[in-house]
């Protein structure tokens, strides 16, 4: 059967890996960063770590967005 709707695509491996970065940083690695010391700007390390990753997550996903947009353009052809 011919694949219908060519613009429906599965996400590229690169953007899936980019999405795994925040999941690893904020979720799976909890035992590595769930500490009070060292204090950063007066904040406990775990709190500061999560706040930092709330800011870094959009950066990861912005790159994933670029990759998906590039794939879209390539799929539509020259």
């Amino acid at each position: 059967m011919a694949p219908a709707g060519d613009h429906m695509k599965k996400p590229s491996p690169a953007s899936l890996i980019l999405a795994l970065i925040p999941f690893t940083a904020m979720c799976f690695s909890v035992s590595l960063w769930d500490r009070v010391e060292p204090l950063v700007l007066g904040l406990p390390f775990n709190l500061c770590w999560l706040i930092t990753w709330i800011v870094l997550t959009p950066l990861c996903m912005a790159v994933a967005y670029r990759i998906e947009a590039m794939h879209d353009a390539r799929r539509r052809g020259p």
Binding site: M8, K9, A19, F23, V30, V36, G42, N46, L47, T57
Partner: protein
């Protein structure tokens, strides 16, 4: 004027402005079903965004997070992580959901299951679970409203009458304005909420300790264990954290209202862009942690942590300011509660009652039935709020344990051709029954892992196994899969 009168007057004024905004949004429009539920599909990208963010800040954020920070400590950090990760998940699942929604004219989550799986039983089950999951979520908002009103009135208005009054107000609000009212009041509510969060989160530590740094220094000296998991609990450790973050981030867009909001977007790209920037919206949640920790140091020993933040605000600021915070908090409970009640009652009337019981109903009759359901749902939630006492965060986690069971059916439905209706039906049933059984017998967390997450794993496993050993007959069902047109999106 007494302090209570000043405070209640300020709060009343804010709620009145919000309600007026809502009523004005609905006035001069004939409220038929389409207008009431999807605002005649006339929402631009800004209003869609507002509708979606409208449910990010709820009473859970406002009182629940600070309350758990106060009573449990570090495990509450899950609340800071899961929202960002929920948007990461949405980057991958909302665009394809939007795409199939466009092709098949879907309006609700039930439509998705109906089109993909062609099973009345599964569609009805998803609908029922979705509606049931809203009950604890609405109960959470009403409980929060009761807390806000009784603290703002300096304990002159009891919790029960306060909840009853706000419930009547809420039902009136949903009746009159529908979804249009909700989106417009979101603007006011989010602006006030942001101001309140900053004022409380930065102001309280400053007032009592001279800043956030000194506040943490005092906390480390006084209660060092509170700041790392499991905090003040014995069983909310790292395994609980990981499983709860996964459960809630995967489940976030499985709520029928979040799922349905995807259909209102202009295009799939809008949803992807939203997913990129939305995590930043959860930065302000950090303020609730600062407030909760400050309250723990200044007024320790409260039996109900959910009261901590407002009690401290009442002690520290003039009554009009408490009224301002209370007003912001009240809208923060009312707007999401309105969205939830609206979605649940529409699901009931349109996707459950009409197709199963009375197919001949006209749209006007469905709209009337939906409005009747609003009253029933509100009353049930109010009764539960009065007669049970569960912390706000626990209420939310009960709802998540239910809706996240849709995740395998949605994701495998999008990306795996072989998944069958029977397998998803059994998976969802097994997941919900397992989660509820563990929670009702007080086995949550179970071996340190969130009960809802264990149930989700079982569900996923069952769906995959049953789809493999009990494959769909290829002749008849191929047509429906072709109609779904998602095969191209996956490599199988």
């Amino acid at each position: 004027m007494s302090a209570a009168a000043v405070c209640l007057a300020t709060m009343g004024a804010i709620v009145a402005v919000g309600a007026a905004l809502g009523f004005l949004a609905g006035v001069r429009r004939r409220m038929d079903l389409e207008q009431w539920t999807v605002a005649g599909r006339g929402f631009g990208v800004v209003l869609v965004f507002l509708l979606m963010t409208g449910e990010v800040y709820t009473t859970f954020t406002f009182l629940g997070l600070s309350g758990w920070t106060y009573s449990r400590g570090a495990p509450t950090l899950y609340g800071l992580a899961y929202l960002s990760l929920a948007y990461v998940v949405s980057f991958f699942i909302l665009p394809p959901i939007w795409e199939v929604g466009r092709r098949h004219g879907m309006q609700t989550q039930s439509d998705f299951f109906r089109v993909r799986y062609r099973s009345r039983a599964l569609t009805a089950l998803v609908c029922i679970i979705g509606i049931a999951a809203f009950v604890p979520y609405v109960q959470l908002q009403i409980t929060g409203l009761g807390i806000i009103v009784s603290i703002a009135s300096f304990d002159t208005v009891g919790r029960t009458p306060a909840m009853a009054i706000t419930m009547v107000l809420l039902v009136g609000f949903v009746f009159a304005g529908g979804v249009r009212a909700v989106a417009w009041v979101s603007v006011l509510k989010d602006a006030l909420m942001l101001i309140a969060a900053l004022a409380i989160g930065l102001g309280l530590p400053l007032l009592f300790f001279g800043g956030i740094g000194p506040m943490f220094a005092a906390l480390i000296a006084a209660r060092p264990a509170h700041l790392t998991m499991p905090g003040a609990t014995s069983n909310l450790g790292h395994a609980w954290y990981v499983s709860t973050v996964l459960l809630t981030s995967l489940g976030f867009f499985m709520w029928p209202h979040g799922f349905g909001a995807a259909f209102t977007a202009r295009n799939a790209d809008t949803l992807r862009r939203n997913a990129v920037v939305m995590p930043l919206y959860s930065l302000s949640l950090a303020c609730m942690f600062f407030a909760g920790f400050t309250a723990l140091l200044v007024i320790p020993g409260l039996a109900n942590g959910d009261l901590a933040m407002l009690t401290l605000v009442r002690r520290s600021f003039p009554p009009w300011f408490l009224g301002l915070i209370g007003g912001a908090g009240a809208l923060t409970a009312m707007v999401p509660a309105a969205i939830f009640i609206l979605t649940a009652s529409t699901l009931f009337a349109k996707n459950l009652y009409r197709p199963l019981i009375a197919p001949a109903m006209t749209d006007d009759q469905v709209a009337r039935l939906a409005r009747g359901t609003v009253v029933v749902l509100g009353s049930v939630s109010l009764a539960l709020a009065i007669f049970t006492s569960t912390s706000l965060v626990s209420l939310l986690l009960i709802g998540y344990a239910g809706v996240s069971q849709f995740f395998p059916g949605v994701v495998l439905g999008l990306y795996w051709r072989r998944v069958t209706a029977g397998a998803v039906l059994i998976g969802v049933l097994a997941g919900v029954v397992t989660a509820m059984a563990l929670m009702l017998t007080h086995h949550d967390p179970c071996f340190g892992v969130s009960a809802g997450f264990l149930a989700l794993c079982l569900n996923f496993l069952l769906v995959v196994l049953l789809s493999v050993v009990w494959p769909v007959r290829t002749t008849g069902s191929d047509a429906s899969l072709d109609a779904f047109e998602l095969r191209a999106s996956v490599g199988y």
